[in-house]
Amino acid sequence: MSHLLVLPIVLPALTAALLLLMGRQLAISRVISFVASALLLLIGIQLFQDANSGAIQTYVLGDWAAPFGIVLVLDRLSGLMVLLTSIVAIAALFYAMQGWDQRGKYFHALFQFQLMGINGAFLTGDLFNLFVFFEVLLIASYCLLVYGFGERRLRAAVHYVVINLTGSALFLIGVSILYGLTGTLNMAQLAERIASSAADDIALIRSASLLLIAVFGIKAALFPLYFWLPNAYSSASAPVAALFAIMTKIGIYAIFRFNSLIFGGSEGVTADITSPWLMPVAMLTLILGGLGALAAKRLLELIAYLTVASVGMILMAYSIGNQASFSGALFYMVHSTLISAALFLLAEMIGQARGSIEEKLQTGPLMKQGVALGIAVLIAGAIAIGLPLSSGFLAKLMILQSATLNPHMPLIWTLILLASFIGLIGLSRAGSTLFWKTSHVYAADAHSPSFGQWLPILFLLGASLLMVVYAAPLKQITDQTAAQMKAPQRYIEAVVGQTADRAPRALPRELRP
């Protein structure tokens, strides 16, 4: 049993504790935080490679055997997500170190706590710990959202916190119903027990499962539940918004995990539980995200709506239902996380280069470093929309191809192409307003972005470029990941396989209702 698997959780936790002790000593805090994030990136790469062998690793905390103790599980999907988190995190952290972290106390500690929560949510194999890690990452995100204060942030934060607390409450209801019916919290064992549950329990199990899907829908910002996102993301500080780009993906990850593992893929009592819902809801999310981007009054708001649209795209691809479409969804997820993080950072630099008018989409003063920023936005926008020869193009191509055999193919193709077109209009409108409709003077309070601010942008855009260069091996990886998720039996065996008595047992009679 390699202890590497627990490090993505333990390392940020210890670093955060150390950073709390550092208090206001900014220089030392920066070094510690950056070194820890760099180490996390190395660990992420190593775990990704380990997961890529195809074996499913488990880590039994405290050496308590799997269904009873807490277990961490590393499979291809969680390996990919942990690596993606550490890539986005190091870029966001480097950007924050250019000045954002001076505006208040404990930025670095909160940042590390957030990483701990995110990594924990990806790695845990246990339903209740998924809740706990959700709370860890949420409370860090609440603090990071209001970091630096300001009226707009507080307004957005009240909505964000109340909605997420309500979501957490629903999560607990769902978890406890499932526990009450199956007597386990371990996801692998839950999968087995649900598959063989008594006929009387099926209605309750289905409602608990749908409740959980609704909760993940809140985190992922799915159609009726996305209204908190544009406000929250567009008022957060840039490095925080960049890190939040991975947070909607946690909801998506949980939907993937539950759908493929616990709801038992194509068989079992909950097999068809999301299929009537997911596709239409994802389609609506995609279109409304695109329309929101058209209507946005600020660049950050536009990018937040593009994030909503990307969630719709990922889940629509997933709900096409075959392995190729799932692979496309994963490819798109990696691409959209990287690019929306880059766009959030770029938008803040544009705001800074325009002075007090910030990134509002209206005629304003001349922009400092306007040419460089313009080219960067052009490239990032082209990648985000998926113009040919970008990672977004490849991802959309994979999704379009996989939909050819689906009965809804004309609708899916129309929506994907239409949403890309709407997004293109929105971005070109924003670009022409920001870069062309200018007066001929600089604003008095405008600052040109520093070289340090450009580095993380180049890093993220470079990562996106690498996705194009290494598209074939990456597609192979996402294909294998999709294949692994379609065969949850191996996951179940890896987690609860070692215990001698793993036949699903009914609860003792006196414990049944």
Partner: protein, 130 residues
């Protein structure tokens, strides 16, 4: 006992939902903590209602209460406590900075946030006076 607990849960949850749908941060926070209580009780009940049975190994008895929900409730209480503390602080800060205790940060019907520097409404003055 089942009927009593179930109806108590239902009533508390209904009150919580009502409070959470109101427009002022104070009622929303109250609603959230009420919902928290209801859910803690619900988790507890999901381990089946028993009385007089220990959750830890004891030589003298042969049947036990399920210990896991109790552990879960403990965690949920701690998390709920922290979250309530945080949202109370956030609501206070928002009340302070936006001069309104409405969840939107502005009095309904008063216009957009850009006009936040205009004089507070009569109702607001009354609140401050009391």
């Amino acid at each position: 006992m089942e009927l009593l607990l179930a109806s108590a849960l239902g009533i508390v949850t209904a009150c919580a939902v009502y409070l959470m749908l109101r427009g002022r941060t104070f009622s929303v926070v109250l609603g959230l903590s009420l919902l928290g209580y209801a859910i803690n009780l619900f988790i507890f009940a999901m381990g089946r209602l028993t009385s007089g049975k220990p959750p830890v190994i004891d030589q003298a008895v042969s049947s036990y209460a399920d210990p896991i929900p109790q552990a879960l409730v403990l965690t949920a209480i701690v998390i709920g406590f922290g979250m309530t503390g945080f949202i109370v602080e956030l609501a206070l800060r928002a009340r302070n900075d936006t001069k309104s205790d409405h969840v939107d940060g502005e009095e309904p019907g008063k216009g957009s946030s850009s006009e936040s520097d205009q004089e507070p409404s009569a109702k607001h003055k009354e609140e401050q006076g009391s």
